[in-house]
């Protein structure tokens, strides 16, 4: 088995674990971490499978970078929501942390 395939399989495993964590009920923070595991898994698959050809393919690298940016943004939003939900007096919350 090539290294790339190994990466891809680990990525798939991570994705499955992460997806289960996001889908199943739990504390928001736990689910946010699970989402990051899931996202990393998907990106790992992307990089892993693309390496089969031998040489370095720049396209997946660019995709992974973009994917990381998207994941960071989503995580930030999720954290902001979770924090506000947890804050005392969530109803009156008017923070500027969107």
């Amino acid at each position: 088995m090539s290294t790339g395939m190994l990466f891809a399989l680990v990525g798939a495993l991570l994705f499955t674990m992460g997806a289960a964590g996001v889908a199943l009920p739990g504390a928001p923070l736990r689910r946010i971490v699970a989402f990051n595991v899931m996202g990393s898994g998907a990106l790992l698959v992307l990089v892993g499978l693309a390496q089969r050809g031998g040489g370095v393919d720049p396209v997946p690298q660019a995709m992974v970078l973009t994917g990381i940016v998207v994941a960071v943004a989503a995580t930030a939003l999720a954290l902001a929501l979770a924090r506000r939900l947890g804050a005392p007096g969530a109803r009156a919350a008017s923070g500027d942390d969107d």
């Binding site: 891809a8 992460g18 996202g39 969107d98």
Partner: protein, 477 residues
């Protein structure tokens, strides 16, 4: 006039950024002007597509594989037009609505701009990875809109929505990764011939992952669990935008993929969406019939109406009318649902009560709004003359031609259930209400924008032929 397409993506992002810089609650006028301009651009683009056929762009001149490609055909330009046309009255409505609702509107304008910009980019993206990115932009902006200025219940709904949408786009991303691994490209144009023959097994997994991810984002039964709290709990203009447009974005993507590159692979699966769609129609309608709260009723109706979009899937391969039916349902539901949420918002604003029982007497106090609600209801029930009726007719016609009787029965039953929940509200509205001392006046702008949207959904039933003409090349290819 310069090329309208880049402006359709740049303009909303631009006014959204300016609105953000202006500070909380500002930017309404800017947004209205921006969307009005986008409307004109979308129509200009539609005229060009109709004249010259599908258009292809390389953004910034880079071209694939590293650059971004755009591709606009009849279906894409239809969605672009629909989005701007529905958004314009809703933004005017929102301006009046948030004038009264204080904190809830603080971040509405920038988020709405990012949402519309994201959707416009989604409709024209020509490669799977860009589609993923735009899908995320739309999802994150939508979650932000649901959460903005809400209480605990609304935040919880937003968080639930966020996890659902992240899960959906995560599955989509994994699918993209598998396809790239198998085929070495994510360009839809290049993938076409690659997937037409014998596709590797990984591609099948990718197709399933991406489809399920999009089912989840489109809230197809049984993945609809996140929709009623999110759409039922958000501020009214947000619910309207979400129910009318956002779910259509992911649906558009699914339709596009199933019609185009996935078509050779999904034939054996084509009945699955129809079965889920049938369940959505029956379950969603039944929940709407039982709903106590007005906005929840409308939100459950969305769950049901999404089902109709999927009923046509087994017929798409053989019946040209099936695609027409899907398009008519998409457009008329977008208009009617936006109108219905808008009308509901007026009712809640004036009566201060968001239960179905609280509607009593509205026929006397808010005839215009009730008329808008009723017209939107006519479309949802699929009664003539309305876009919803044409959709229903085309769907039944296509199903009969295939001998697919179960679909016909589901369509008819769904129409009756829709009549049940719509008339539940209407008959309550006709009841004589005890006189109230507090007379809250209905804002004119809100009433008229609701009526305008509802009237458009009905008028579609009379002047629908342009729509059919616009998508005709897609159906032929």
């Amino acid at each position: 006039m310069t090329d309208p397409l880049p402006w359709l993506v740049v303009l909303p992002l631009a006014w959204a950024s300016v609105a953000f810089l202006l500070g909380p609650g500002r930017g309404a006028v800017l947004a209205a002007f921006g969307v009005a301009l986008q409307c004109a651009l979308a129509f200009e683009l539609a005229a060009r597509v109709q004249a010259a056929g599908a258009l292809r762009y390389a953004v910034g001149g880079w071209g694939s594989p590293l650059g971004i490609d755009w591709y606009v055909d009849g279906l894409a330009v239809l969605m672009l037009g629909l989005t701007q046309v529905v958004a314009l009255p809703l933004l005017l409505y929102a301006r009046s609505y948030f004038g009264h609702a204080g904190a809830a509107g603080r971040y509405f304008w920038p988020l709405a701009g990012f949402l519309i910009g994201g959707m416009n980019a989604l409709f024209v993206s020509a490669d799977l990875f860009n589609l993923y990115v735009t899908l995320e932009i739309v999802g994150l902006a939508a979650v932000g809109l649901v959460a903005a200025g809400g209480g605990a219940a609304q935040l919880a709904a937003a968080l639930r929505y966020l996890f659902a949408t992240l899960l959906g786009s995560g599955a989509f991303l994994l699918g993209v990764a598998l396809i790239y691994g198998a085929c070495g490209t994510v360009s839809i144009e290049l993938l076409g011939p690659l997937l037409a023959g014998e596709a590797p097994r990984a591609v099948y997994v990718a197709v399933v992952l991406m489809s399920v991810g999009l089912f989840l984002k489109t809230a197809l039964f049984p993945f609809h669990y996140w929709l009623p709290p999110a759409h039922g709990g958000a501020a009214v203009p947000v619910s309207a935008l979400l129910s009318a447009l956002v779910i259509k974005a992911s649906f558009y993507l699914l339709l596009r993929l199933w019609l185009d590159i996935f078509a050779p692979l999904v034939q054996p699966l084509a009945w699955l969406p129809a079965v889920l769609g049938s369940a959505a129609i029956l379950w969603g309608s039944w929940q709407a019939v039982r709903a106590e709260h007005l906005k929840l009723l409308v939100a459950w109706s969305t769950v049901a109406q999404i089902g109709y979009l999927f009923l046509a899937f087994p017929l798409l391969a053989t019946q040209a009318a099936a695609l027409d039916a899907v398009v008519f349902q998409t457009v008329s539901h977008a208009l009617a649902k936006a109108a219905m949420f808008a009308a509901t918002g007026v009712v809640i604003h004036v009566t201060g009560n968001d239960t179905v029982a609280g509607v009593a007497g509205v026929a006397q106090r808010l005839p215009l709004t009730l008329f808008a609600f009723a017209l939107a209801g006519v479309t949802l029930m699929g009664l003539p003359p309305s876009g919803g009726f044409l959709a229903k007719w085309l769907l039944i016609d296509a199903a009969l031609a295939e001998g697919a009787w179960p679909l016909v029965l589901v369509v008819l039953l769904g129409g009756l259930l829709a009549a049940w929940y719509v008339f539940r509200v209407l008959r309550q509205a006709f009841l004589l209400a005890p006189p109230t001392e507090v007379a809250v006046r209905a804002p004119r702008l809100m009433e008229w924008s609701a009526l305008l949207l509802a009237a458009a959904s009905v008028a579609l039933g009379v002047r629908g032929i342009e729509l059919a003409r616009l998508i005709a090349p897609v159906g032929a290819s």
